[in-house]
């Protein structure tokens, strides 16, 4: 994995890395969410995101050789193609967590719609399948954004999170998709006006990524080639 992957495969890796790392971050709420239903919800969402990551890694592995697990866990931290948005550690801050959740799901919907249009029937079919599962994540995110926006304190915290994370959300997408996201956010989150900002682009990693990579790959590195 030292030489850059071809564009179509690089795209699959970007999708896979985002879903894997967001799934990992979502799972950090397991056991400590504000109440039991959200423990279950964030754990289930995490499981589904990681399932999507695996499916994307499998398609990438078809081109690159190797296995999904090797792509997920055997690369160096700087080789991951993830967006900084998903790398941020947000546990203990529910307002920022919901802000990322809703921004990610709105951006992901735009991206998955593009995947559905792929000329490769396996990629397009996967996009269709993922879109149906992600519809539930999107509903959950919207429901929580609306719920927080109902109270003054909730809205204040949510909007602070949206303002902080908006440049990161833009960095998840490229080109015209960014304009679509701006329009979708304005429509779905009427209490928030997306500011004009420089996107936080993919390619750089946030400081807390190193610690997450250590944790994610620890078991695999401790027993190379292990099967269980």
């Amino acid at each position: 994995m030292s030489s850059p992957a071809p564009p179509a495969v690089d795209h699959l890796l970007r999708l896979a890395d985002d879903e894997l790392i967001l799934g990992w971050r979502d799972s950090e709420w397991t056991g400590i969410a504000p109440f039991l239903e959200e423990d279950v919800a964030f754990s289930s969402i995490a499981q589904t995101e990681i399932g999507h990551a695996r499916a994307f890694y499998e398609l990438a592995a078809r081109e690159l050789g190797g296995t999904a697990d090797e792509l997920a866990f055997d690369r160096r931290p700087e080789e991951y193609r993830s967006s900084p948005l998903v790398e941020l550690r947000l546990v203990h801050d529910w307002g920022r967590t919901i802000a990322r959740h809703v921004l990610y799901e709105l951006a992901d919907a735009i991206r998955i719609a593009e995947v559905k249009g792929s000329p490769d029937p396996d990629v397009a079919g996967l996009g269709e399948k993922i879109e149906r599962e992600e519809a539930y994540h999107r509903m959950h995110a919207q429901m929580w954004a609306d719920r927080l926006a109902e109270s003054e304190e909730g809205r204040k915290r949510l909007v602070a999170g949206l303002e902080e994370l908006w440049p990161y959300a833009l960095g998840l997408l490229e080109g015209e998709a960014r304009e679509r996201l701006t329009a979708d956010v304005a429509e779905r989150l009427p209490f928030f006006t997306p500011p004009e900002v420089e996107p936080v682009e993919r390619g750089e990693h946030v400081d807390e990524w190193a610690a997450l990579w250590e944790e994610m790959t620890m078991v695999r590195r401790s027993a190379p080639g292990g099967q269980w």
């Binding site: 239903e37 289930s44 499916a55 993922i130 149906r132």
Partner: protein, 167 residues
Amino acid sequence: MSVAAALSPERVWERLAEIPDPEIPVISLVDLGVVRDVAVEGERVRVDFTPTFLGCPALEVMQTLMADAVRELGGEPEVVVRTDDPWTTDRITPAGRAKLREAGFAPPGPRPAIGQVQLVDIQRGPFRCPYCDSTDTRLDNIFGPTPCRSIRYCESCRQPFEQFKTV
């Protein structure tokens, strides 16, 4: 009778229909609609399999169970995962739906014409309680113990129940 003669696609389908879903054992893999095709060529048996929910840990177990069943019949299995034509809950057979309901597990509603379920569908839709048949039920949590399930609550018999998600 030779092994090859015994291995008809019908025989394979029959055997696959005996395999219970690993997480919801009241329903078979065939009733669940995950077996897309069976092709037999001599001893070689190809089973086309479409995954349910991508995060479902039962997917690998299902593939192992199907391969084992083919070996029991004397065949050489090849389980092919198909992603080009994805599974939907509309593929669960009518018999499968009846078995789910009998087991206290509300079957999925039909997929909406627009293709994607909206929050309003699952909040206001006429979902029926599998215990008392009342449609006076409400959504309690979009997410449940596995990726395929939501949790609903029946206002009539005051019983929470699991609802298969529509995808």
